[in-house]
């Protein structure tokens, strides 16, 4: 690796046949070849053609990222691989469910911060809340960080989904 080849984060969108084993193929490729997965989401997105979209956030030097994409592309059930990070402007979102336990002062503060972050209360008990927060990952990180001091119990995160800006399909 030359010094100019520094690692950077890339969000890669993969359109695949929705068939058994496809996720194992993709994940096995990453583990088998020593690439890392920072975030992974998958769900069926096209009922008619039975396709799923997998969104993976990974990191690597430009040569490694190029290799990851080429490796993904040669999997037989993969239809399309797009590097959203290289492909121009795109938007990324992540959703988290954040459970916070507390009463009095802390409970009020948690609710106030949730409001600032436009997090929704989706469950409320006398001594707890479950917040739903959506946004770019760093916003979700910040919100969770703030809740740590206010009785954070549990976090569930979806991982990143992403798409390009504008009218073009990914």
């Amino acid at each position: 690796m030359s010094p100019t080849e520094t690692a950077s984060r890339h969000t890669i969108s993969i359109l695949v046949d929705n068939e058994p084993g496809i996720l194992a193929r993709v994940v096995g490729l990453f583990s088998g070849r020593g690439y890392n997965i920072e975030s992974l989401t998958v769900a069926k997105t096209n009922e008619k053609e039975n396709l799923s979209r997998i969104t993976i956030v990974t990191a690597g030097t430009p040569m490694v990222i190029e290799q990851i994409k080429a490796q993904l592309d040669r999997l037989v059930p993969v239809h399309r691989v797009r590097d959203l990070t290289l492909g121009g402007e795109h938007v990324e979102r992540e959703l988290a469910l954040v459970k916070v336990k507390g009463t009095g002062e802390k409970r009020v503060e948690a609710l106030r911060l949730a409001d600032v972050f436009r997090a929704k209360v989706i469950d409320a008990k006398s001594d707890s809340f479950v917040f739903e927060v959506t946004g770019a990952s760093d916003k979700v990180d910040t919100f969770i960080g703030l809740m740590e001091g206010l009785g954070l119990i549990d976090v569930g995160r979806t991982g990143i989904v992403a798409t390009t800006r504008g009218s073009e399909a990914i």
Binding site: R25, G28, A70, H79
Partner: protein
């Protein structure tokens, strides 16, 4: 016809699909889960089944068949242990890009996941060692899956494909679905035709080169015999030097004066130095394997690199190239020749003359020289004599893995593609003998020789029974040094000559072993008898083991120790002392 009338069992559909895919031979081994298929095979006479003695050998035999014919090799094994025994062969085929379709039996669908008798998660186990695999869950999908598997195995960069077949699927009934031609796969469509702009750019680089070299590999063989013809034509048109990888041998005639021999770890001095000093490197169907590049930071440092490959993942994997061209070797070469002829470029003759003069100087080192005496047979000598006697016969060579494999690559001359089968990427001891069976099945009248080591041959020796059954006149030419020579050589180089577990104790008497299986055994350790023994081997129209007792201490040179650069070649035993292996090099294999 009503559906019920035309419906047949899954097993019969499978056989029909194989016939429609123009399969002639299946290498296999039966078991409970595949009994319906064996029953279907019994009832027909279009497909020939070759019963091996171990499933690994079935895959290697199919590889030999495939590599020597350009067709897809077909394997049939049972569930569980049948499938797991095939894994080494599948991995071998993946690494060397050999088209294989392997049918594995599976427990019935309702028992999958229950730890049923002879159940194994075959698609899970073979996912990383196949190009693709399928689990057929309904008989209605069976025929289509088989056709798709053949398409995937042979298209683009070829490779092994597994179809896992639960027993109930084989017994259920459905109508047959013929293959659709041409195949339009919904997602797998490798790029065959190159981008014309890139061809022009390549010719720009090639015609301006002053110190060019062609570096070509297995991709040219994969592309088919036409690619080898075109390569030879283009190399002649340019007048440039050319070197081949181990997997590419035969793609360009070895006797041609533009040929520099094999490159890489055990490649020639002239080939490796040409790679180091060249200004334009033209890679066609070779994947910059670590046996080739040596120390990456010192690999061909002054060259502009053109890389033609059908698989984009081979490009910029190990070595950054300046001009990647995705496409099939034959298509690319055809275009290159067309543009070259249209341009009629004038080369810098002076520079080319100087380049060839330099190459001739390197050639003058005669890096493959060895000293034959009157007492013991040098392995190199045995192979030179072997080649002398077989060169006018229609012959095919396979090898096992080790020093003998490298000497075979160095000392036998390959004049045409598809006549040389060796395990390059995985380096599987035990490959050569079953591969030779597969070659012999495809070419019944040819002289098929497995150049073997005494250690490697023990790994699939049970196949003597198979060659006896089918009267396959395969020749096993053992260079018997009583060592795992390649291991011993590394221990000498890296571990102070402590030959830990690399001596072959208790070897069988190979002559008697041959006889026990109804084959013929010959032996010699005397240089003056060697010619006679080889001639006799060729004459015998039966399987023969030739046990050639060779010098036990001989090492394979030249050698670029792992982690070293191309100019750091060891040319002989006396070179070693001056060039200690680096710590970085010690960790490499």
């Amino acid at each position: 016809m009503k559906p019920e009338e035309s419906a047949t069992t899954g097993a019969d559909l499978l056989v029909k699909a194989l016939i429609d895919e123009e399969v002639e031979v299946v290498f296999g081994y039966p078991g409970g889960a595949v009994l319906p298929i064996y029953d279907s095979l019994f009832k027909q006479n279009r497909l020939r089944h070759i019963l091996v003695r171990h499933e690994q050998a079935a895959v290697h035999a199919a590889e030999g068949y495939a590599r020597s014919t350009g067709r897809v090799g077909v394997v049939l094994v049972t569930s569980g242990p049948g499938a797991t025994n095939a894994v080494t062969g599948l991995t071998d085929a993946l690494m060397d890009s050999i088209p294989i379709v392997c049918l594995t039996g599976q427990v019935p669908t309702h028992l999958i996941g229950n730890d049923a008798f002879q159940e194994a998660d075959t698609t899970g186990i073979t996912r990383p060692c196949t190009k693709h695999n399928y689990l057929v869950k309904a008989v209605g999908d069976l025929a289509r899956t088989v056709h798709e598997a053949f398409y995937v195995a042979r298209s683009g960069r070829p490779g092994p494909v597994v179809i896992d077949l639960p027993k109930d699927v084989l017994m259920n009934k459905h109508e047959y679905e013929a293959p659709k031609k041409p195949v339009q796969h919904k997602s797998y469509r490798p790029q065959v035709k190159p981008d014309p702009k890139k061809i022009e750019e390549a010719i720009d680089l090639i015609q301006a080169a002053k110190r060019p070299v062609f570096y070509t590999g297995g991709g040219v063989i994969n592309s088919g015999p036409k690619a080898s013809k075109l390569l030879t034509q283009f190399v002649h048109l340019t007048g440039f030097p050319i070197t081949n990888t181990l997997m590419g041998l035969g793609a360009f005639p070895a006797s041609d004066k533009q040929f520099l021999g094999m490159l890489g770890m055990h490649g020639t001095y002239e080939a490796n130095l040409a790679m180091y000093h060249c200004d334009v490197l033209i890679d066609i169907g070779a994947r910059f394997d670590d046996r080739i590049t040596g120390k990456l930071s010192e690999f061909s440092p002054k060259s502009k690199k053109i890389h033609v490959d059908i698989d984009p993942s081979s490009i910029n994997k190990n070595v950054r190239v300046d001009l990647p061209i995705v496409g099939d070797a034959a298509h690319v070469l055809e275009e290159m020749i067309r543009v070259w002829k249209a341009r009629q470029p004038r080369l810098d003759q002076k520079a080319h003359k100087a380049w060839w003069a330099e190459i001739e100087k390197w050639r003058g080192r005669n890096c493959l020289a060895y000293k034959q005496d009157k007492e013991t047979i040098k392995p190199q000598f045995a192979l030179e004599r072997l080649y002398h006697h077989i060169k006018d016969h229609d012959h095919y060579i396979t090898t096992e893995v080790g020093q003998h494999q490298m000497w075979a690559a160095q000392f036998l001359k390959f004049e045409q593609p598809n006549h040389w089968m060796t395990s390059g990427g995985l380096g599987t001891m035990g490959y050569g003998f079953p591969a030779a069976m597969g070659v012999q099945i495809a070419h019944p009248d040819a002289l098929v020789i497995d150049v073997a080591g005494e250690a490697s041959i023990m790994m699939n020796i049970q196949e003597l029974s198979t060659v006896a059954q089918y009267r396959l006149p395969v020749k096993i030419f053992i260079l018997n040094n009583q060592y795992m020579g390649m291991v011993r050589q590394w221990q000498e180089l890296l571990h102070g000559g402590r030959y830990s577990e690399s001596y072959m104790e208790s070897l069988p008497d190979f002559v008697k072993l041959a006889e026990a299986f109804g084959a013929v055994g010959l032996r010699t350790g005397n240089p003056s008898e060697l010619d006679g023994v080889i001639q006799e081997m060729i004459k015998i129209k039966k399987p023969v083991i030739v046990d050639v007792l060779v010098d036990k201490a001989e090492n394979c040179f030249p050698m670029i120790p792992s982690g070293a650069a191309h100019y750091d070649m060891l040319l002989g035993p006396n070179d070693r002392a001056e060039k200690p292996i680096s710590e970085e090099g010690m960790v490499l294999v």
